[in-house]
């Protein structure tokens, strides 16, 4: 019993309890450490107002990262966030009350914009399954399609929103937090419930873990993959609506930075690019890590000329620390 032969090590792999808990604990510990360090260095950082501000700033990234996480869990990658968000952002700005046309669909406009995001996500999934092209190529293409749609609708004049309800998302507060923060919290909760309790969520893990096994055991994988991309698209669409509320205008660049920052956040939080590991909550911790870092570096007064580099360095260190427990698994890095 005490002597472990290699065969037993392999057999024991499905339930390495300590490894899992250690790996899962890495990013939250890093988050706590960073918060403590910044709080000690800057009195402004530890104010309530600043924590509200941090959650506010994290809200959109949290929603987008929820979507990206499901795709990453399957071991695919989704580079379409910026294009999908562009299309949804312009769509929502043109559908609610705005300065460009007479539309005033209100909530229905928001739903349509999210549906547009879902449709573009669905397109990614269908193309992926039909053409058997790697997901990063397909989604890059769909991103370009989304940008194209956005630019066509944009037509050279920026649509500014005048819809009071949508504007209030970014300005009005409930219990001290903006509606955007609450929306993000609900999204994370819904994302977690989907991941934990629905077949879609469980299969996303299974596809990322061992797609062949799943297929051989008689599961038709394709519909689930399409559904996951559709879900991701819907999250991007909602993210775009939230950005539009924040900026008061529909911007083609609304999602420009989100493709990579969402993937970065997910990976920093412990969702693996290889799929099958991590989840919505992990990714949310990653989002908070990145946003706290951005905020804290400004609060403690790091020169803007240094910030980019410092931030990158901390992210690399955080990912390396989080991935440390994986080293002994002979994981191939590519």
């Amino acid at each position: 019993m005490t002597v472990t032969s290699p065969a037993e090590v392999v057999a024991a792999r499905p339930q390495p309890r300590r490894g899992v808990s250690f790996r899962d604990a890495g990013p939250p510990i890093a988050l706590v450490v960073i918060v403590i360090v910044f709080s000690l260095l800057s009195p402004q950082f530890r104010t309530l107002g600043n924590f509200q501000n941090i959650l506010d700033a994290a809200s959109v990234l949290a929603v987008v990262t929820c979507g990206a996480t499901f795709v990453l869990l399957m071991g695919s990658i989704d580079l379409s966030a910026s294009g999908v968000m562009a299309a949804s952002a312009i769509a929502v700005a043109l559908l609610v009350e705005n300065n460009r046309n007479g539309n005033d669909l209100g909530f229905l406009g928001i739903v349509i914009a999210i549906a547009l995001g879902a449709a573009l996500g669905c397109l990614s999934g269908v193309l992926l399954m039909a053409l058997k092209v790697p997901s990063f190529m397909v989604t890059l293409g769909v991103s370009a399609i989304g940008l194209g749609i956005a630019i066509l609708m944009f037509a050279g004049v920026q649509p500014n929103i005048a819809d009071a309800a949508l504007e209030s998302w970014a300005t009005d507060r409930l219990l001290g937090f903006t509606y955007l923060t609450w929306i993000a919290a609900v999204c994370v909760l819904v994302g977690w419930l989907i991941q934990r309790y629905t077949r879609l969520g469980r299969y996303a893990f299974a596809i990322g873990g061992a797609e062949e096994v799943l297929a051989l055991s008689g599961v038709r994988v394709a519909p689930y993959k399409v559904a996951v991309f559709t879900l991701a698209g819907a999250f991007y669409g909602l993210g775009a609506v939230m950005v539009t509320s924040q900026l008061g205008a529909g911007l083609v660049q609304a999602g420009a930075d989100f493709t990579f920052s969402s993937i970065t956040a997910a990976v920093v939080g412990g969702t693996l690019l290889t799929g099958g590991r991590g989840g919505v909550l992990h990714s949310t911790v990653g989002v908070l890590l990145i946003v706290v870092l951005t905020n804290g570096l400004v609060q403690i007064g790091v020169s803007p000329y240094w910030q980019g580099g410092v931030q990158g360095l901390i992210v690399v260190v955080a990912v390396a620390a989080a991935a440390l427990p994986l080293r002994h698994r002979n994981q191939v890095v590519k």
């Binding site: 402004q44 900026l247 930075d257 905020n295 400004v298 910030q307």
Partner: protein, 361 residues
Amino acid sequence: MIRTSRPALALIGLSLASIALAGCTEASSADEGTGAATGSCDPADVTLVGQVRNESNPYEASWLDGGDAFAESVGLEQQRLTYDGESTKQQEQIRQVLAGDTDCLVLNVLPNGDADTKPIVEAADTAGAFLVTQWNKPADLSPLDYDTWLSHITYNGVESGKQIGDALAEAIGGEGGIIALQGILDTGAAKDRFAGLEESLAENSGVELLDQQTANFSRQEALAVTETLLTKHGDKVKGIWAANDDMALGALQALEQAGRTDVAVVGIDAVPDALTAIEDGTMTATVSSDGPWQGGIGLAIGYCVATGELAVEDIADDNRAFFAEQFLITDENVAEYLTPKTDPADFECDNVFNRVAGPLS
């Protein structure tokens, strides 16, 4: 069988389409030419090309509209090119355009960055196409060393940064703290504009720069950075200096969300939303480089040379690379700028250098 052939079909279809497109551009190269610097083109044979980053940026869209307006005034059409801010895509487009008929080709180009200018200039020079570049150029590269690179137009960022800095100081009564939102730190525009702010700060000793951060010329980043800086400095912030209007608009949004109405905001570029904000009184000032004029003037200079109305050797050295005039817009004169338009008189061959504010230093 259907499933396997579909991607193949798509590929074949795409390649056929691209061959057809390439054929179109090749087919138009019929004229013979010498590539001499000063042209003798029939006005109807001139091809006008305007290239900017993207049409989703109101300023750059207005630039292309100005190009269209000029083209229409001489009975031609402008080819509108956009490269999405990707340097490689810009070079590829330039190569494609230059692969066609280049004898009477006029290019008005916004290079993506300083480093992108040299390959564009050399390619155009080799092909004998008339080129005007704007905004970005390495300091050691001069149109004087080339035959068909007619002129480089840019704006004195130090001056505009100082203009809005002074307007901001005036708006807050010469006294109080301001924060600065910088552009992309490694661009000349960001550096010059910030240098202008520093000059203004030196003259307005009551104004204190509380903090400076970069928001990379982005409305969204400016929103987040301003929110953070407002929590950091609170009521001490009386004014926000932004290196472009997009960031100023992001800052305005952050102020609105924080419920602050006592902060003056200034920017540069005169995008439509900023002009509306100035009209509403929520924003204090911006600086206009006059995008439509920029879009027209590059083509006009090229057109005048291509048709022989203007000889390259007659263009004064100081006009081969110059700072163009720019205009401070406040609530006093905003009405004149709300509807961007071009004045055809600006594009007459005798007037194309009327807005030279000084040689490039």
